[in-house]
Symmetry: C2
Subunit: 236 residues, 2 copies
C-alpha cells in the first residue's frame, strides 16, 4: 500500500519531485528545446530522467497521496503541527510522524518586534526567546499512539548520542535520527531507547548519488510495521 | 544594442527567465505531459508563454550577454562587488550599476562566531556589527565614472525621501530608487540630487501583471544615455 504523505514545509522550500529541477540548480530551461513545428520538447539527452520524475509526480497527483502544507514563521509551524497531528491522531498507531524540519531554536515574539525597519546607525543587540519544546505535548497529548521520529543535528560528535538519548528520555517518543552537520548526507544513527543503528553510505553509493533517505525510510517503515503489530497485540 | 548584464545574486535566489517557473510556484512539472510516443512535451495551454521565455533565455545564452555570479555571505557580496566594479571601471561612464540586492544592515563577524551549534537551554542574546557602508568607496574609488543606482527601502513613509536624499549627499552617486516595503511592487520614486520622479502602476497595469521594473529600467537607461552624453562633453 505505501504511505500517503503530508509534506509540511516552509514556503518556497524545495519539494518532492520538482527538487530535481530547482530554478537555481539544474534549471529546467536548459533541458528544453524549441522544435521546428513550434512546439517545445525536452532534449532527448535529459528526457529519460525527467520522464521518470514526471511519471512519479503525476501518479501521486492522480492518487491524491501527497498533500502540501506550507508555513512561514516558527509560530505558524507549531500551530500547524498541532492542528495536523490532532486530526491525524484518529489514525492511532498507523501514522508515522517524520519531524525533519530544522526548526529554529530561538525566535523573537511578535510583541517584541519593532513596527518599522530598524535603522542602522551602529551595531544591534537582539534578544531572542527559546522556541517552546513541542515534542513533549505532541507525544503526551496530541498523538500518544503515533510513531514519532525526530532529528537531532549537532556539530560536535562528542554530544550527539548523549543528546539524542536525552531527547528520547525527556519526550518519550520512538526514534531519534542523530546526524552531524558535516556528514549528514552520508551517515546517520537511528537511536531508540535500547539500540543504536548506524546507516552509512559506501563510497560507491556516494559516487552513484544514492541519497541516504533511501536507506533511512525503509528502515523506519520496517520499525513502524513492528510498532503497529505490537499495538495490535495490546489491543487484543 | 542593449546591455550585457552581470547578475550578482545570492546563491539559490530567483533568476532571470527561470523565475517564471520556480520549483515552488508555477512548478514546471505541472505544465509537462507524457506523450504516447514516450517523449515529453509542454501542454499546449502553457506552451506559448513558455516558448516566449525559452526563446529569450536561449538568446542570451547564445549571445553570452548574461553572466551569473553568486555569493552567500554579506562579506562575500562586498568583496565580489569590489572585484567586479574595479574590473568594470574600464568601461567608465558606459557601465550602469543597479544595486538592487537587499544587503543585510548587520552581521556577525566570522571571528565572533562559535565553533559549534549554540545549545538551546534558555534565551539567546546576539550582538551584531553594522555592515560597512560600501557606497562611499565604490563611488569615490572603485568606479568614479560609473552610473550608480542604489535602492532605499523603508517601512515608514515619513523617512523615505529624506533618507534617500541623505544617501545621495553622503555617497555622491546618481540615483536612489526609494520604495516602501508594503507598496514596492507598484510604486517607487526615482530621486536625484535635484529631482523626484514617481513611477506608479495603474490599476489596469497591476491587473495585467505588469512589473514595475518594466517602467523603472527604460527610465534608467534614458538617464544613463544622458549621463554618457554629458561625460562625452567633458572629455572634449
Amino acid at each position: 500500500m505505501g504511505y500517503a504523505v503530508i509534506f509540511m514545509h516552509r514556503q518556497f522550500s524545495l519539494q518532492p519531485y520538482s527538487r530535481h529541477y530547482s530554478h537555481s540548480k539544474n534549471c529546467f530551461l536548459d533541458f528544453m528545446e524549441l522544435k521546428s513545428d513550434g512546439s517545445i520538447g525536452v532534449n532527448s539527452k535529459y528526457a529519460p530522467k525527467m520522464k521518470a520524475v514526471l511519471e512519479k509526480y503525476q501518479e501521486f497527483k492522480k492518487n491524491e497521496t501527497l498533500l502540501f502544507l506550507d508555513f512561514v514563521t516558527v509560530a505558524d509551524y507549531l500551530f500547524l503541527l498541532r492542528s495536523v497531528t490532532r486530526i491525524m491522531s484518529a489514525l492511532k498507531e498507523h501514522a508515522m510522524y517524520y519531524l525533519a524540519a530544522a526548526v529554529s531554536d530561538f525566535f523573537i515574539p511578535a510583541q517584541k518586534m519593532p513596527q518599522h525597519k530598524i535603522q542602522s546607525d551602529g551595531g544591534l543587540t537582539l534578544t531572542m526567546d527559546q522556541v517552546p519544546k513541542f515534542l513533549k505535548p505532541m507525544v503526551t497529548n496530541w498523538v500518544p499512539c503515533g510513531f514519532i521520529v525526530s532529528f537531532k543535528l549537532e556539530t560536535d560528535p562528542a554530544l550527539l548520542v548523549d543528546k539524542s538519548r536525552h531527547a528520547l528520555t525527556r519526550y518519550g517518543h520512538q526514534i531519534v535520527i542523530a546526524n552531524l552537520l558535516a556528514i549528514r548526507k552520508r551517515e546517520v544513527i537511528l537511536i531508540t531507547r535500547d539500540s543504536e543503528f548506524q546507516i552509512k553510505l559506501t563510497e560507491d553509493e556516494i559516487a552513484e548519488n544514492i541519497e541516504i533517505e533511501s536507506r533511512i525510510i525503509p528502515e523506519l517503515t520496517k520499525r513502524h510495521d513492528e510498532w503497529i503489530r505490537n499495538a495490535d497485540h495490546v489491543d487484543m
